[in-house]
């Protein structure tokens, strides 16, 4: 949901679902405290996302096809890594962690807005937390909440993104140089 959405409701729901999913995986592994921490972290981070970013859901907006394909590919790669390339107990946790981490980083590195990047970073934090002990899970959840709260504490637009967008608009679509003021 975080990967294929561009609206604040989509980010919020995505983080809640991510936290819940990771909590269920931890619960199945018998880690009740870890599950509770991840669930709370996901819900709190999601709730905080409701106050920042583009309004609405904006799920699968035009141009999101690569992200949908990436989501399916991440699940396949996560399964491959979890089942074949690692051994021992805890395979479901590893599949979940690898898949969510891969998707979150991909979203983080390709996002064009700070709200999307922050939501992806919060998802990454939750997923990284599942790789560790209770301390790691607590830190992952706390950082996810802090990241979600961080962009609310920052006023104004992402200057770098605005400048990049401005530069992109200034360039003609055929790749030629923009006209100079003196012609």
């Amino acid at each position: 949901m975080v990967a294929v959405s561009d609206g604040r409701r989509g980010f919020a729901l995505g983080l809640c679902v991510t936290g819940t999913g990771l909590a269920i995986v931890a619960l199945l592994a018998g880690d009740r405290w870890g599950a509770a921490v991840l669930l709370l972290g996901g819900i709190a981070a999601g709730a905080l996302r409701l106050r920042d970013g583009p309004s609405g859901w904006r799920i699968m907006p035009p141009g999101s096809t690569p992200r949908i394909i990436l989501s399916l590919a991440a699940l396949a790669v996560g399964t491959l890594v979890g089942v074949y390339l690692t051994t021992g107990p805890g395979t479901p946790e590893r599949v979940a962690a690898v898949a969510v981490c891969g998707l979150s980083v991909a979203r983080l590195l390709t996002a064009d807005r700070r709200a999307a990047a922050v939501a992806a970073a919060a998802g990454l934090s939750l997923a990284l937390g599942t790789m560790g002990s209770l301390l790691g899970q607590a830190a992952g959840a706390a950082v996810a909440v802090a990241l979600s709260a961080l962009s609310m504490a920052v006023s104004g637009p992402d200057l770098g993104a605005v400048m990049a967008e401005g530069r992109a608009r200034a360039l003609p679509h055929d790749g030629s140089q923009p006209p100079t003021p003196d012609g």
Partner: protein, 406 residues
């Protein structure tokens, strides 16, 4: 320098009329908390040991060096810099850095790197939030995966873990192959050099101690990757700084070169042989010389702005060149001596490569010394203090190694 108009590179760190800013009351509160956390971690009282093993002493010394660097910059930066904003922003970063060093869980370290990256990426700058999050996100991801690999029973996965840990340090510091561009109009505190010069050194000393002891096989991969990347960064940094056109690029490359020496030292020190102690000591001494010496000098050079080609070298410029080139008795000299001593015992080709890089290094050091212009007033005092610190680090290196026990 006071007559020039204010450029973007001199924009206030946190507040004022900048389009993106942390709200000041929150910044002050976070800064106070950060300062208290940093003091607690540096002190590491016995009460804290009930929560886990205390942070390694070299890392605590580096956190203290980072604190000194924040104070130095806040007190002695030019009048155009908002010193209080710089102080509180630095204290916030220092607090997260101290937590990073203190927490024993590598996964918690990974998510804190992410938080630190996000805090840094919200500072006003010309690069987008996403662009500035690339290095920290890569470092957190690689560290998480490396820890995942360590926990499995696969021998291959353990080797990947050794490789990943070395790459995570490179990603956190923004070194080659994770190096980012430096925008001349971006505020220096928001630039990528802040990671290499301020945020990553403590992490580089704390991380191996938290994840090690790896077994012999993993340790070999870890050390070999560190040495390989260290040599790459050393060559990239020295040649890049020598050949760079703009002075800003020369500064950026000089950080890569310093980190190259530190990484080679960390790599050789991780092998565990008899001579590795000298290499570890070299790495331990190289990083403190980056934080309170090279990083403040870089920030002050940015405040001075472009220096005309006709300006000659003053006494302070010559001393700066000598200090930055690693000449005796400044801080870089014992680093080079210890590293060469360890390298000659490990392999002569490695020692020859290091020696060649150190010779090329001298060329750009005096150029960097010239970038601070003909300092006067507060800037002259600042440079004198920095040079004194470098001198103390150079003369008291033996005592520092004895205290730090790297």
């Amino acid at each position: 320098m006071d007559e020039r108009p204010l450029t973007t590179a001199e924009a206030p760190v946190g507040g004022g009329g900048s389009p993106t800013s942390l709200r000041s009351p929150g910044l002050v509160a976070l800064g106070l908390i950060g300062a208290v956390v940093a003091l607690l971690v540096i002190w590491s009282p016995a009460v804290l040991s009930s929560f886990g093993p205390p942070p390694p002493l070299p890392a605590r010394i580096l956190v203290a060096a980072c604190g000194g660097s924040v104070l130095l910059l806040s007190a002695l930066s030019g009048s155009r810099v908002q010193r209080w904003e710089l102080l509180w922003s630095g204290a916030v970063a220092l607090g997260v850095l101290a937590l990073l060093v203190a927490i024993p869980d590598p996964v918690a370290m990974a998510v804190l790197i992410l938080l630190l990256g996000a805090l840094h990426a919200t500072l006003p700058g010309r690069r987008s939030f996403v662009l500035r999050m690339r290095g920290p996100a890569a470092a957190a991801l690689i560290l998480g995966f490396a820890w995942l690999c360590v926990q499995t029973s696969s021998v291959g996965a353990h080797r990947v873990a050794g490789l990943g840990l070395a790459l995570a340090i490179a990603a956190a510091a923004g070194l080659v192959p994770f190096a980012q561009d430096l925008d001349p109009e971006e505020p220096p505190t928001a630039s990528c050099v802040t990671w290499a010069g301020f945020l990553a050194p403590a992490l580089a000393l704390a991380l191996p101690a938290r994840v090690l002891p790896l077994n012999g096989d993993e340790r070999t991969f870890f050390s070999a990757t560190l040495i390989g990347l260290g040599l790459l960064n050393l060559a990239w940094g020295t040649i890049g700084a020598w050949r760079a056109g703009p002075e800003l690029e020369a500064w950026r490359h000089s950080f890569l070169a310093d980190w190259g020496l530190a990484r080679v030292g960390l790599g050789m020190g991780g092998v565990g042989a008899a001579w590795s102690r000298a290499a570890r000591a070299a790495a331990f001494l190289a990083l403190p010389s980056v934080v309170p010496v090279r990083f403040p000098l870089f920030l002050w050079a940015r405040q001075v702005g472009p220096v005309g080609g006709g300006s000659g070298l003053g006494t302070l410029n010559v001393l700066l060149g000598a200090a930055l080139s690693g000449a005796a008795p400044f801080a870089g000299f014992p680093v080079r001596l210890l590293l060469l001593r360890a390298a000659t015992r490990e392999s002569w080709p490695l020692a020859a490569a290091l020696l060649a890089a150190m010779v090329v290094w001298v060329v750009h050091a005096f150029r960097l010394g010239r970038t601070l212009g003909r300092p006067s007033g507060r800037l002259a005092v600042a440079i004198a203090v920095t040079l004194s610190l470098s001198l103390v680090l150079g003369l008291a290196s033996g005592a520092l190694v004895a205290v730090g026990r790297p």
